[in-house]
């Protein structure tokens, strides 16, 4: 099993954490990204996540490799969920473990920031007023003719 996966069912956060924990690892960090109930003032009902799946998996694994090089000795597991998610659902989970806290914290930060910049995952937000839009990472929206 590779360290980075795309999944379609709810992420098992406890299992992900267990995957990186170890008797010689005194620090485990866990980052969860969840679906927020609003974006730029608009009430959000849910998000459809989709991906260029083969590349998303490859790019997440490239980021994991980079993190392992930058933060030697860190153990990493990460999952991003795609499909229809509701408010509060976990869309991404990143678990990092190391003998000490600094590399575990820094690796986690590195991975989520790079993931947001580079991994070809897309989201369509559904709003409580019944409309929906593709959303870009910057918070800006793209207007697409319907």
């Amino acid at each position: 099993m590779s360290a980075a996966r795309l999944v379609t069912s709810p992420i098992d956060v406890a299992a992900l954490t267990k995957e990186v924990a170890g008797d010689d690892r005194g620090a485990v960090t866990l980052f969860l990204g969840t679906v927020r109930n609003s974006n730029e003032g608009r009430p959000v009902d849910g998000i459809d996540y989709s991906a260029y799946e083969a590349m998303a998996i490859a790019e997440m694994n490239r980021i994991v490799d980079e993190a392992r090089e930058r933060f030697a000795g860190v153990a990493i597991a990460l999952e991003h969920r795609i499909g229809a998610l509701g408010v509060g659902d976990v869309s991404v989970a990143i678990a990092c473990a190391h003998a000490h806290r600094s590399p575990a914290l820094d690796a986690n930060r590195y991975i989520i920031e790079e993931l947001k910049k580079r991994v070809p995952i897309f989201k369509r937000e559904h709003y409580l007023d019944g409309t929906s839009e593709w959303v870009a990472q910057t918070g800006g929206r793209e207007e697409v003719p319907s």
Partner: protein, 80 residues
Amino acid sequence: MTVRVLLFASYADAVGQSELTLELADGAVVGDVVERVREMAGGRALPPSPLLALNAAYASSSTVVQRGDEVAIIPPVAGG
């Protein structure tokens, strides 16, 4: 030569397809694929210089494509 082209999210919606094949001249580059797609109905919704990938890795528009390659035109990413 034939290459496979993938579109996603807003770009796929705009063009009305998520996957197509294009016939390109030998020596064509990734950027040529963008030009061709922008000439299609709805294609002007794509920016002139979008993010591009060749065989599942980011590539510049000047990268030469080979027969059977997979070119992806990638909208703004929004993972996390």
